[in-house]
């Protein structure tokens, strides 16, 4: 489960872009042929439609979601352990139920663990509450920050998948105040289309804000003036970089 601290909380909404990976345990209500089971799993890859469960936080209407991959890890009698990569907003409990219906024997989910959110994965350093408590203790009581350092990931690594635009030092402070980024402030950029969410970065690689592209990357490369990116949420504190006038 990704936890974001202070300024980093502002990027949480964009983590939803990336999809999720789960490991789930399916319990079949009757034993069935393994080949039939595998075929059914393959049928549920790609675009599927599902109705959110009765108890859910969203409106109950059919919606389309994409299953990127699905892979059976182990079959033990009626229990099927599998790994599945899905679009954000896919209900795994429902997916299992629907596969059970398709198999005509019925099935339910008996366990679920999320292994990836967007580009953050379980393989990166997972921290338990106990680890965190120990790390804070070592830092505060013995001035040893090594453990704490290992617990903390940077906001920049969490949003690594977003397109980026790098700006002049002089452009940083106005953006911290919520101003849009004008074309002359842009120094380097990756590919993006108009209306995409873009991370606005300093030349040192720090995130300043998230914004929406008013122009595409190609248009910014050739334009001389005008608004390039509209600032949506500011992450960097005001005053990290000096005000515009003080830089010569």
């Amino acid at each position: 489960m990704p936890l974001a601290i202070n300024n980093a909380t502002k990027v949480l909404p964009v983590l939803l872009f990336g999809g999720k990976e789960y490991i789930a345990l399916m319990h079949l209500h009757k034993e069935i042929d393994e080949q039939l089971l595998r075929n059914t799993f393959n049928k549920f890859i790609g675009k599927i439609t599902q109705l959110p469960p009765v108890r859910s936080h969203v409106k109950r209407q059919y919606r389309q979601r994409e299953i990127y991959y699905s892979d059976i890890l182990e079959i033990n009698g009626r229990d099927v352990l599998f790994k599945v990569g899905v679009e954000s907003g896919t209900y795994i409990r429902k997916l299992i139920h629907d596969m059970g219906e398709e198999l005509e024997v019925g099935a339910h989910m008996s366990e679920l663990r999320r292994t990836k959110v967007s580009t953050l994965s379980e393989r990166d350093s997972l921290v338990t509450l106990q680890d965190l408590d120990d790390a804070v203790y070592f830092y505060k009581e013995e001035n040893d920050g090594r453990l704490l350092d290992r617990c903390l990931g940077s906001i920049e690594s969490a949003i690594d998948f977003l397109p980026k635009i790098f700006v002049s030092d002089t452009a940083v402070d106005p953006i911290c105040h919520g101003s849009p980024l004008a074309v002359p402030g842009a120094v380097k950029l990756t590919e993006f289309e108009k209306d995409e969410t873009v991370a606005i970065m300093t030349l040192k690689g720090e995130i300043i804000a998230l914004g929406k592209a008013v122009l595409s990357a190609d248009e910014i490369k050739t334009a001389k003036k005008g608004v390039a990116i509209k600032t949506d949420s500011v992450i960097m504190n005001v005053g990290t970089y000096p005000p515009y006038k003080k830089i010569k």
Partner: protein
């Protein structure tokens, strides 16, 4: 097996050469512990049986010595 945005390689195009003044700001890898907390993420291994909200609350209590004001989390296991 990869999710759509995983290990995405993005090429950076330079419009012009420009340097940055090292007297302000700080590259993410050079941040102090306090700065790393302020712009930080923790991938929590949530214990089974407690709510995400409770886990986030406990984490916030642990981090309270750093005057952490906000801790947010992404996603619940409702799905």
């Amino acid at each position: 097996m990869k999710l759509p945005l995983e290990n995405l390689k993005q090429e950076v195009f330079s419009i012009r050469d420009e340097t940055t003044d090292s007297s302000y700001g700080r590259a993410p890898k050079d941040r102090s512990i306090e700065e790393r907390i302020n712009y930080g993420f923790i991938l929590l291994d949530k214990p089974a049986g407690i709510r995400s909200k409770t886990a986030a609350y406990i984490a916030k209590k642990i981090m309270a010595v750093f005057a952490v004001k906000k801790i947010g989390y992404s996603g619940t296991l409702e799905n």
